[in-house]
Amino acid sequence: MSRQETSVALPGQLQPPMMNGEVVFEAPWQGRVFGMAVALHEAGCFEWEEFQASLIAAVGAWDAASSEPYAYYVHFERALQELLQAKGMVGDGELNRRSGEFSERSHGHDHPVRS
């Protein structure tokens, strides 16, 4: 549903606050990584301050030296991965293996979950 449709469909006070014309997430995977971070925090996997420190480090690494274009949710994802790796919850090795498997799927299955 587009933002415009949403605004029209809901009256008055119920109108979604959204972002003054901006979408909240630009791609489904951005919503998934954001949702994972919040859900894992709420489930007690880490304190939000721990994630925040990881995010500051990821953003700081870009600020210090980077030729890549700035992409906030790429840093956000990296921050989550690094925190989960540091906590021994998800290792880089298994994540790379699983990513490799997913990227080799046949055509038509190369989309993010629930996109």
């Binding site: 949702g35 994972m36 489930a43 998800v90 880089d92 997913f102 993010p112 979950v113």
Partner: protein, 191 residues
Amino acid sequence: MTDFQPAIRAEALESLLIEKGLLDPAAVDRVIEQFNDRTGPMNGARVVARAWTDADFKERLLHEGSLAVEEYAFEGGQIDKLVVVANTGLVHNLVVCTLCSCYPWALLGLPPKWYKDPSYRARSVREPRAVLQEFGVALAASTDVRVWDSSAEIRYMVLPQQPPEWVGLEQADLAHRITRDSMIGVGLLSA
């Protein structure tokens, strides 16, 4: 780190977390739904509209922000240490997070893209007047510009000035006129 597409990595990460029993995918759905549909600047606008029409509430809001908005039970978090700063004829406030993207989610939703960008994070501290001008905010030379850098714990929101033409309007009507940008400090309100 091996270079996979972020969407692939996100999917791989989610599948591993589910397998390990660390993550409930329905919880991820709920967070996304909440920020898409229920949490955003409309909450902050309700608070601002009330502060304009209820002097007692305004005083509590400026004195102890988190406590003052507790009764709303807004979803979204990140307002445990909320500081609300009021714009006046003499002072204009601007909110930034220089290190990452800290923002009062429960009141304003998730931050806009530009708020997270390196340029805004660096320049709003270094040259706030130039940044404000680019947002279309022209201030008198005598106006004191105060920049608030969201720290590890504190989240800031600006209480914008109420245009004189809006005095006497109902809170619900006012709330619909209050913009997100005015509550970050990169916008002014006008009738």
